[in-house]
């Protein structure tokens, strides 16, 4: 199992990288390589040109900008886990990362790589979806920003033009004391999720939900925002009945089916997981803030 032949480039800047992307046919960007390298080894991918982003230092880094945390596309998952800024501002992302692969893959894998690979079960994509993150995109015609919900177009398909690349993701910071939970059902530790749920609950001073966000992942081609459930929770003080009612909206989803997991299983488990994640998020919230 060895990769096919390709021409290799290691640009030093984003300008060089997008220049190459625009000028080369059948080119692929190489980020952390934790998915693409395996696809190359198995000869499921045959790029003529491989553009390695690992020498572009400007693409890595975590900064706070106002009410947002900006994470460069080539920031390694391991560095995100270790970041005090992220621990403080994006606890949901930290919790999700504990389910992403293993120590060795997180040491190489990048957040931008995960967003662009867009596996239906990808945890980082689910978190970006849940927090209404915004993707920064660069191309030879300039830069643009796009909400994650628009970026995730379909099964392993992003809204990127062929000559564009992701340079960063901007995550809004939720108010201190918000409730959050990331839960995942996978066969073994670190496996791809069969179903995962990201839930965040922001409360007003009276214990009512101000903003509810519930994302199901692994059940559809792209992360699914459970808007009906969110609407049920908004403006209410969650109790057991309300949480159950919100979770039951999962019964209506059309879940993916594959050789090992039928649709009914994902749907049934999604409801359970949603209920558990909402209970956990509510319990974790510090409503005094």
């Amino acid at each position: 199992m060895k990769p096919p032949d390709f021409l290799y480039y290691d640009p030093q800047s984003v300008a060089e990288a997008v220049g190459l992307l625009a000028s080369l046919e059948n080119a692929r960007l190489l980020a952390g390589g934790q998915s693409l390298m395996a696809l190359l080894n198995m000869r499921y991918a045959f790029p003529d040109h491989l553009i390695d982003l690992n020498r572009i230092d400007a693409l890595a880094g975590i900064t706070r900008e106002g009410d947002e945390i900006r994470i460069g596309a080539m920031t390694r998952q391991r560095d995100i886990e270790d970041s005090a800024l992220v621990r403080d501002g994006l606890p949901l992302l930290i919790e999700a990362l504990s389910h992403v692969g293993h120590r060795q893959t997180r040491n190489r894998g990048t957040i931008g790589g995960s967003l662009c690979h867009l596996d239906p079960a990808a945890e980082q994509v689910a978190v970006a979806n849940n927090l209404d993150a915004v993707v920064e995109i660069a191309g030879i015609r300039g830069e643009r920003r796009m909400p994650v919900a628009e970026f995730t177009v379909g099964f392993m398909t992003t809204a990127l033009e062929p000559d564009e690349m992701v340079t960063a993701v901007r995550f809004p910071i939720l108010p201190k004391g918000h409730g959050f939970s990331f839960m995942e059902l996978a066969r073994r530790h670190g496996d791809f999720a069969i179903v995962s749920v990201a839930a965040t609950l922001v409360y007003d001073g009276a214990g009512k939900v101000e903003r509810a966000a519930v994302t199901l992942s692994g059940v559809d081609a792209v992360p699914l925002r459970m808007v009906e459930a969110e609407a049920m929770l908004a403006g209410r003080v969650p109790d057991e009945a309300l949480v159950h009612q919100a979770a039951r909206t999962a019964a209506g989803i059309e879940a993916l089916e594959d050789a090992m997991v039928p649709s009914w299983y994902r749907r049934q488990v999604a409801e359970t997981m949603m209920r558990r994640a909402l209970v956990a998020a509510d319990a974790r919230a510090n409503k005094g803030h």
Partner: protein, 799 residues
């Protein structure tokens, strides 16, 4: 987890001595097949069938041959003129065959499973060889597929081989007694239809072959990651038309075997033949994807079985049918289902028994033993039936087993069954009820009902389950071991046994050192090399410690006698007054006597000095009566197998909303006779238990309706990792076997055998409120949740 050993006053036996394998492996200085690099070596890649069943219309390798860096592309047409035979005739003898399915060296007319090799590419690197592979054009005419072993036996089913009369590869009846009369008279009968699947071996090292040809002497050396180098040598000689002395097969370090590496494979012939044809060393290293479709595996067995009991739950008879998925070729024989059938009743007194076996050809990877070799399936079937009877009769699951276990006072217990070689199956030693009681005590079986009630009150579903097994180990007839004390003073041990990671070299060093001074560092073991050992069988059936161990013991005793004889003559004393200590032979002198250096030299000699004297010199008489040199060769013949036994008790918690099963605790009590190396025994058990957990809950080698494999990488095929392992308690009993002088039994497969049965029993128990009965393995969360849903629907229907 410390074992008690039967070797009480031993120097090194029964102790956790450092393994002789570790110093190289821990530094990364092992030498596995892929680590062998020779000047001018070519790298092989195999073009394999993408179809489960098709006729090959044409093969065009013109473009591939023209690719720079490619030295040859060989098909059957290219190889056949250089071979004495084009088929691998490996089927073990059995009167049960109805079809001869000897696989070809390379497929040329018909392919019968995805992954079957068609051509080999030899190139400067594996990278280039894989480039060329994509350039070979094969024109196929697809044929109907036999994808399921039950459907394959239906009348009119598509045949796995075009033109075959049917898919019935073999049929046989195993049993004894008038089972139908027993059922006729029985007050209670219990029926189960069970589907058991095992999966692949997945040694972390895949297979690998390196061959180099010496054109001057027309001799081939083949390094092969195999469990059976001598069998490989014999088959290569047959197929290539070579004499044994022209062909050396040697095993480098082997990165795990687990069964499938005992099989002889087409790639071994092709690589050896290619090296001879091209005059260049050739290496082929199987990649993991190939391992999924080209290395043998164990898959489906469907058991339709019945148990008859009296009112007290005593077994009156067991009968039923077994359908076994054989895969596309006979790569070993019918030994897997045979092993399954003979394992089924073994722990118990079963007065009448009959299983009708049908072996079905399918368009899938050939089936041969994977660690356990059918025994886990047979045990699963028996233990499921006993659980059904316990539940039906209202008897505790442990109690019904206790009432039926072969009692210690009946040992040795000769069953009416025979092995595949026609040798009586006689349980040689053990106290099965006591072993089970040990496991139950440690697992808290008695108090579990209260814990379960408490858990249920808080919405948790926990359960406990058990399974007993008896494992046939130490399959004969012999294993070769020779020992030579060289004039350097070093002791060389050569054996037909093959090491594949279990610590075979340590085991033999221990046994030899015990008799020859206790210094293991003075012993060098050469295992798995046909040029070092004239005879050999190799690694399978948990046999090597029993067979090679006892040959080593017998040979070491002879060497000891000879060393002492020679030393006694030189030192002018009696052998009985001498002892070997480390690398010296010393006269036993009273401790309080002080001696000068001159006196010392009269009372001690090094092993090297003794060997030099025994070697002889022209014109001088040899010392003693034992002939020249100090060497001994033994093939201790033991036909009867020795039977290990044990009990696993599993405690599980089931998440009834997701179907996830967590094993909370596992107790494993076992008896493999005298323990030579407690840590190695425990390591074997733990590895087997992990494999058993995989078979119960994770490992599934899936194929779709066209017999296309669904799991071809390690992300899809789930091997147990550290996070899936429960806390395990190992308990040891030592009932030495009377069959060999060391009193030892095999343990290599024990761990895996009862795990599926115990986990299924525990899941049933946890899900009692839903009336769940597990009837298949492995069980995914999807399967478990489906069972729970069905249970819920049943109870709602009742309301």
């Amino acid at each position: 987890m410390t074992a008690v050993s039967g070797f009480h006053n031993a120097k090194v036996l029964g102790r956790d001595v450092p393994r002789v394998e570790d110093p190289a492996l821990i530094r990364g200085q092992g030498r596995f097949a892929d680590d062998i690099m020779l000047p001018g070596m070519l790298h092989a890649a195999f073009l394999r069938s993408p179809n489960a069943h098709a006729r090959i219309l044409s093969i065009d390798a013109t473009a591939a041959r023209a690719l720079p860096g490619v030295h040859a592309v060989l098909t059957m047409a290219d190889l056949a003129p250089h071979l004495a035979d084009t088929r691998l005739r490996v089927a073990m003898p059995s009167p049960s065959y109805r079809l001869d399915l000897h696989r070809p060296v390379l497929a040329d007319e018909e392919v019968v499973h995805v992954g079957e090799p068609i051509a080999v590419i030899l190139a400067d690197s594996r990278y280039i060889a894989e480039d060329a592979m994509a350039m070979i054009e094969v024109d196929y005419d697809p044929l109907p597929v036999a994808n399921d072993c039950v459907a394959a036996l239906e009348p009119g089913a598509p045949t796995a081989h075009d033109g075959a009369p049917s898919n019935l590869v073999a049929e046989m009846v195993m049993g004894y007694g008038d089972v139908d009369a027993a059922f006729e008279a029985a007050p209670h009968r219990f029926h189960e239809r069970l589907t058991v699947h095992r999966g692949g071996s997945h040694s972390m090292e895949c297979r690998g072959v390196v061959a180099v040809h010496d054109a001057v002497d027309d001799r081939l050396t083949v390094w092969c990651s195999t469990q059976m180098p001598h069998a490989a040598q014999r088959l290569l000689c047959d197929i290539m038309g070579l004499a044994e002395q022209q062909l050396r097969v040697a095993t480098p370090d082997v990165g795990g075997g687990f069964g499938p590496k005992l099989v002889f494979y087409p790639e071994e012939v092709v690589v050896a033949a290619a090296a001879r044809l091209l005059g260049r060393p050739v290496k082929w290293i199987e990649d993991r994807r190939e391992h999924f479709v080209a290395t043998t595996q164990e898959r489906d067995q469907i058991w339709d079985v019945e148990l008859a009991t009296d009112d007290e739950g005593r077994i009156l008879g067991v009968r039923g049918q077994l359908i076994h998925d054989h895969g596309a070729w006979t790569a070993r024989g019918v030994n897997v289902p045979q092993g399954a059938m003979s394992a089924m009743p073994l722990p118990y007194l079963v007065p009448a028994y009959r299983i009708d076996l049908k072996v079905a050809a399918t368009n899938k990877v050939p089936v041969t033993p994977v660690r356990g070799a059918g025994q886990p399936q047979g045990v699963f079937a028996m233990e499921r039936l006993l659980d059904a009877a316990a539940s039906g009769l209202g008897i505790d699951r442990a109690e019904i087993r206790r009432r039926n276990q072969v009692p210690p006072e009946r040992m040795p217990y000769e069953t009416p069954m025979v092995t595949r070689g026609g040798i009586a199956i006689t349980l040689d030693s053990g106290d099965y009820p006591k072993c089970m009681a040990m496991a139950l005590d440690a697992a808290g079986w008695e108090g579990f009902a209260a814990r379960q009630m408490e858990a249920r009150a808080s919405g948790r579903h926990i359960g406990i389950g058990l399974a007993n097994y008896v494992e046939g180990t130490g399959r004969g007839p012999y294993e070769h071991v020779s020992i030579r004390l060289e004039p350097s003073g070093r002791i060389f041990v050569r054996t037909g046994a093959a090491a594949m990671g279990q610590g075979t070299r340590t085991m033999l060093s221990q046994i030899v050192a015990e008799q020859l001074g206790g210094d293991m560092s003075n012993i060098e073991v050469i295992a798995g090399d046909t040029h070092a050992a004239p005879l050999g069988i190799g690694g399978s059936n948990s046999r090597q410690t029993v067979m090679a161990g006892n040959s080593a013991h017998a040979a070491a005793l002879k060497i000891r006698e000879r060393v002492l004889e020679v030393a006694a003559q030189i030192m002018q004393t009696a052998p009985a007054d001498l002892e070997i200590e480390g690398r010296m032979v010393r006269a036993q002198t009273p401790r309080n006597v002080q001696m000068s250096n001159v006196q010392m030299s009269n009372v001690q000699m090094s092993l090297g000095e003794i060997a030099r004297v025994a070697y002889g010199q022209a014109g001088f008489k040899l010392p003693g009566k034992g002939g020249p040199g100090i060497a001994a060769s033994e093939e201790v013949v033991i036909d009867a197998m020795t039977y290990s036994n044990g009990t696993a008790v599993a405690e599980v918690e089931v998440d009834v909303e997701t179907g996830e099963v967590a094993i909370r605790n596992l107790v494993f009590a076992h008896d493999c006779g005298h323990v030579l190396h407690p840590r190695i025994v425990e390591g074997q058990l733990m590895g087997g238990i992990a494999h058993g957990i995989g078979n119960a809950l994770y490992e599934f080698m899936g194929f779709d309706e066209n017999a296309q494999p669904l799991t071809t990488n390690l992300a899809e095929y789930l091997l147990v990792t550290a996070t899936e392992m429960p806390p395990v308690t190992l308990l040891h009993m030592e009932s030495p076997t009377p069959l060999n002088r060391l009193g030892i039994k095999g343990v290599g497969e024990s761990g895996v055998i009862p795990i599926g049965g115990a986990i299924a029993s525990a899941i049933d128990h946890a899900l009692e409120p839903f009336g769940v009965r597990v009837a298949k393995l492995p069980l995914s969360p999807v399967d478990v949740l489906a069972l729970i849903n069905e249970g819920r629907a049943r109870s709602e229907g009742k309301r």
